[in-house]
């Protein structure tokens, strides 16, 4: 193999005494100009960061965080599961007995199916909000609760019929 020696494409100009002093002058003036701006920020500007675990930011009302399904108002229409682009909503519903009491949601829609399973895999969820917009009874909503980390992937599957998840309706960690 032949030996290779490359030369850089960026040309370096010859240095004269005048240029040398001019360089120093330019560097000092522009750096001091920059330092002036930095100093203005260092003193006289209020801190913009918050100390997170002690101080928590309140998210805007329509912020899209953890999903919550109010299972009592759910009519098992499957629309959320169809709209979901990542297919993370699992619904099982059985037909309601004819003899059973007729129940209605809070906005008056008749419930014709018994919800057996309503699980959302929160680890898969991409928080796009498409499921909440198609919900006819508006029982599936995004909450502003953003602290729900778990130790295992399995525990990210939230079964909204289980009492411990249902009690998270208004939960916001404080």
């Amino acid at each position: 193999m032949s030996s290779t020696t490359l030369t850089p494409i960026k040309e370096t100009e010859g240095l004269t005494l005048k240029k040398w002093f001019l360089n120093i002058y330019r560097a000092v003036t522009s750096v001091s100009k920059g330092m002036m701006i930095t100093m203005k920020y260092a003193y006289g500007v209020k801190p913009v960061t918050i100390e997170y675990p002690e101080v928590r930011e309140v998210l805007p009302e329509n912020s899209r965080s953890r999903l919550y399904n109010d299972a009592e108002n759910c009519i098992s229409c499957y629309q959320c599961a169809v709209a979901c682009p990542v297919d993370c909503i699992y619904i099982t519903a059985t037909k309601r007995d004819k003899d059973a009491d007729k129940i209605k949601t809070s906005n008056g829609t008749a419930i014709r199916l018994d919800l057996v399973q309503y699980t959302i895999d929160t680890a898969l969820c991409c928080y796009c909000g498409l499921c909440t917009t198609v919900c006819p009874t508006e029982c599936l909503t995004h909450t502003t609760d953003y602290e729900f980390s778990q130790y295992t992937l399995d525990s990210m599957k939230y079964d909204y019929l289980a009492p411990d998840i249902r009690s998270w309706r208004d939960r916001i960690v404080k």
Partner: protein, 377 residues
């Protein structure tokens, strides 16, 4: 062998990998470089570390479900990604978008452009060894993200622009806050430019580095600030207006080689930073022109796009983004091909690198302003 006689010494190029975990490659880009000590002889970019099969996924999703996926392409300019996609679908459907929605869309797209360019400004300063400009830029970007969060509910991946309009309406207090912030931002960006762009060390690192001539950018098909940085006046918002851009009065920023040759890293930096001012102009005109009215046009509940195909391109912060959508008349598209500008720009690294020092190469990668999410999709 006589050591003093250097010509007889056997030397060879050293092959190295820069990345994928290199902080200066902005994500997961691996560049295989062949070097002679500090000087690069050849650079080969390797892509695909962030490939998520977006185009294949799109073939199995309904037209609305694709919007969250387009967000995830260029996650720093998600509004612009959605905007292009929705424009393409609307053109196929023949939907008329209400005027208010159009104004909100353009305003959001321009604010996203500001946020994206601020991000470039911050990370480019970090690449060249200055840390505090990054924090200043983030302070201003934070306001924009806050407005987006209040409107759409998310900070980065909005799903805000929908086929036919936008999701939520903007209220007067938010408009006032934006107006107030634009005054602040204009002053701040001037300050930042004097802090970084006029700095002697910054000029020394970027002027005459990574020069792209007009012929080179034409050959590779570069778009956006890369093209304008090389002195070509081409902006889709101006030359091929889409949405309602023809109503607005703004200038395109073109690199003139103020600190070195035309098409060097400093010019690309200059184009991006001064585009912020032009975007501020557009946002102000939006604030003046916005009118009351509905925010959603008439769109069927189940979207079935008529048979046919379309290619639509929009001007995104990083260049032109093209959507080639083929519909077979069903609920899901037959094909959604995305032409990304970053993909083109990454391939230009091999053209710029030979003969550069490694430190200059870092400056060159930074000046391209790539987002690997858009390169690999």
């Amino acid at each position: 062998m006589d050591i003093k006689n250097q010509e007889k010494l056997h030397t060879d190029l050293l092959t190295m990998n820069m990345g994928p975990q290199h902080p200066a490659t902005h994500g997961v880009l691996r560049v295989e470089i062949k070097t002679d000590s500090e000087i690069i002889a050849e650079a080969i970019p390797h892509l695909g570390y962030l490939h998520r099969c977006k185009e294949k996924h799109s073939e199995n999703l309904d037209y609305r479900g694709i919007i969250p996926y387009t967000d995830r392409m260029d996650y720093l300019a998600a509004m612009n990604m959605e905007h292009g996609y929705c424009l393409a679908i609307e053109k196929m459907l023949g939907t008329e978008v209400p005027k208010r929605a159009e104004y909100i869309r353009v305003m959001m797209a321009e604010m996203q452009r500001i946020a994206s360019h601020l991000m470039f400004f911050g990370t480019y300063a970090i690449d060249l060894g200055a840390f505090s400009p990054f924090l200043y830029a983030f302070q201003d970007r934070e306001f924009i993200l806050r407005i987006f969060e209040e409107l759409s509910g998310a900070r980065l991946l909005y799903n805000y622009i929908w086929v036919g309009g936008v999701w939520n309406d903007i209220n007067d207090s938010q408009l006032k806050r934006i107006e107030k912030f634009m005054v602040e931002l204009e002053e701040n960006v001037k300050k930042y430019h004097s802090l970084v762009g006029e700095n002697a060390i910054f000029i020394g690192r970027t002027a005459n580095v990574g020069v792209l001539t007009k012929d080179q950018v034409y050959d590779y098909g570069a778009t956006g600030p890369m093209l304008r940085g090389s002195g070509i006046d081409w902006d889709l918002r101006k030359t091929r207006p889409y949405s309602i851009y023809e109503e607005f009065d703004f200038n395109t920023v073109v690199g003139v080689g103020a600190k070195g040759t035309v098409g060097d890293c400093w010019d690309r930096y200059y184009v991006r930073v001064f585009e912020i001012f032009e975007s501020i102009k557009i946002v102000r005109q939006c604030l003046d022109g916005i009118e009351e009215g509905p925010i959603m046009g008439k769109v069927p509940k189940v979207l079935k796009v008529p048979k046919g195909e379309i290619y639509l391109r929009t001007e995104c912060p990083r260049g032109e983004l093209g959507y080639h959508i083929i519909s077979d008349g069903t609920k899901t598209p037959y094909r959604v091909k995305v032409k990304s500008s970053c993909f083109t720009h990454v391939s230009m690294l091999g053209e710029m690198a030979p003969g550069q020092m490694i430190a200059d190469f870092v400056a060159t990668i930074g000046s391209i302003d790539i987002v690997l999410g858009e390169v690999d999709r």
